[in-house]
């Protein structure tokens, strides 16, 4: 997705636990954690299952579709890269698999994002190792 002449977003800090998640976006995959011992799904990615504390955790691609559970349109932010994007919508999105993800909702005017709206994931590449998931209205 084009961001026009907007200054680049702040980069997330990449750690050994999150590297695959951020890189997954470069290939169009929204990865969520799944425990091979207890089957619990989780987000964000962790090396240890939050249910049974097993280390047998695998990153699996989510379908990338979900529903907006809560939304806020941000009108104030002093960080230049984000100030340039004001006003912007932040959504709390419930993935169809269950876990919730907090992320930008783009692709429509921010005030048009409503609770209950169906969305699907898209990605904004920020570097050679990071593409962040964002959500756009489902067709």
């Amino acid at each position: 997705m084009s961001t026009g002449t907007l200054p680049p977003r702040p980069l997330p800090r990449v750690t050994p636990e999150s590297a695959a998640y951020w890189a997954g976006g470069l290939e169009g995959n929204l990865l969520i954690g799944r425990c091979d011992d207890c089957d619990r799904l989780h987000h964000p990615p962790h090396a240890v299952c939050p249910g049974c504390w097993s280390s047998n955790v695998t990153a699996v691609p989510a379908k990338g579709t979900g529903t907006v559970e809560a939304v806020s349109v941000v009108h104030r932010n002093g960080v230049p890269a984000l100030k340039a994007r004001l006003p912007y919508a932040i959504g709390y999105v419930s993935l169809d698999e269950g876990p919730r993800v907090t992320a930008s909702v783009v692709g429509c005017p921010p005030d048009d994002v409503t609770i209950g709206m169906r969305v699907q994931v898209d990605f904004e590449p920020l570097s050679d190792e990071v593409a962040i998931p964002v959500f756009v209205p489902a067709p």
Partner: protein
């Protein structure tokens, strides 16, 4: 004989809400002195210290005040921390680990222009011991503190039909009370319409739904009740206290569920009180929605009924449940981490020192602090205080 502890001093620094000549340590030192003067203790009587700040904060303060505490608490769980310190100090004194604990705070949040409510950090300093990985998943999107609370408000409104006008009742109540507090930052009355029409910060929260940012400091002393016969004034009993954590549950959490539902019932149970025993409620009112979810979590009304509950002036001084008589963080003072000021105002009220904003016949006060991000990781601490008159 069983030891017990009480709040024997609760001092709020009288400096203006913007005090560029102060440092946090000056606020801390002068607040500590003010608290000693209230109760008649001397610096050498203080054998315990509690505060929150950077990792070594209690040690730095001990050096600044040249004390050698034998008991230290630096529980750092955001703005609710000081309520934990008071509870922990009581328990430590009961166990004989200390006799007089200084709980102290100072901040120049306003003079330092720390816009922590509507700004995320541009540069992330990597601390090799840091365990907080949340920032990485939030800051590329511009998720600010206000927007996390706003997500909760958005969900509450959708799920329960809560209106912005109902949230505004909370801001109006706090402003009404601030009008009776000569030290409050904002004292001019506001209307519900003015709250609705204020500029948006992170929808559905607008400017008057959000707390102020000020400079300030304060100190509380919790001491062995055996010291009371030696000190001036009278104490406030720490009847009950409890802590809880709320977080994302790794993607499983409903936004409207908050930590208050965990800490509240346990604190009420320890204190042996019921809701209709409560004469006043001090809530860390970072945002209007914070108060509404805390009212529900503590059980003053059922989940989802906070909107109708706050209508009709219930939270005013002469209402059923007076909220934040000092004007709260929404209108009075908020030097970050407001928890200490909840206990200070509750103590003033229970001592009958509220002046024009005194709640009539106040004998039981409940304080509840929310630390961190309500819509994300947060702590909840409930403290029940009682008059000893």
């Amino acid at each position: 004989m069983t030891r017990d502890a009480a709040i024997v001093a609760a001092y709020e620094h009288p400096a203006p809400r913007k005090a560029p000549d102060y440092t946090p340590l000056r606020f801390i030192g002068e607040s500590a002195r003010g608290a000693l003067d209230q109760c008649g203790l001397r610096p050498s009587d203080i054998d315990g210290i509690a505060t929150t700040g950077e990792t070594m904060a209690p040690v730095s303060i001990a050096e600044y005040l040249d004390i050698h505490p034998r008991w230290i608490d630096s529980t750092g769980i955001g703005g609710s921390s000081f309520l934990s310190h008071i509870m922990h100090a009581r328990d430590a004194i009961r166990q004989g680990h200390a006799r007089a604990v200084l709980i102290v705070y100072g901040s120049t949040a306003r003079s330092s222009a720390a816009a922590f409510g509507s700004q995320v950090r541009d540069q992330v300093v990597v601390d090799p011991m840091a365990v907080d990985d949340a920032e990485a998943y939030l800051h590329p999107y511009g998720v600010v503190l206000a927007s996390q609370y706003a997500l909760v408000a958005s969900r509450h409104m959708h799920q329960y039909g809560t209106t912005r006008a109902q949230l505004a009742e909370i801001a109006v109540a706090c402003r009404t009370h601030a009008g009776l507090n000569p030290n409050a930052l904002y004292r001019d009355p506001i209307t519900i319409d003015e709250v609705l029409e204020a500029p948006p910060i992170a929808t559905p929260l607008h400017r008057l739904d959000c707390c102020v940012i000020t400079d300030g400091g304060g100190a509380v002393i919790v001491a062995d009740t055996d010291l009371l016969s030696d000190v001036k004034g009278h104490g406030v009993a720490i009847l009950g206290g409890a802590e809880a954590v709320g977080h994302t549950e790794m993607g499983q959490r409903d936004l409207v569920d908050t930590a208050a539902a965990g800490s509240g019932p346990r604190a009420f149970g320890e204190a042996g009180i019921r809701h209709d025993d409560v004469d006043l409620l001090m809530v860390y009112d970072s945002f209007t929605i914070t108060v509404m979810t805390v009212l529900e979590g503590l059980g003053f009304c059922k989940p989802g009924e906070g909107g109708p509950y706050v209508e009709g002036g219930r939270l005013l001084l002469d209402g059923d449940l007076p909220l934040n008589p000092d004007g709260g963080a929404l209108s009075n003072t908020h030097p970050g981490r407001r928890g200490l000021f909840l206990a200070i105002e509750a103590t003033r009220q229970l001592r009958g020192e509220g002046g024009p904003r005194q709640v009539a016949d106040a004998t039981v006060a409940v304080c509840h602090g929310v630390g961190g991000y309500l819509g994300h990781r947060h702590s909840g601490v409930t403290l029940v205080l009682g008059g000893m008159a």
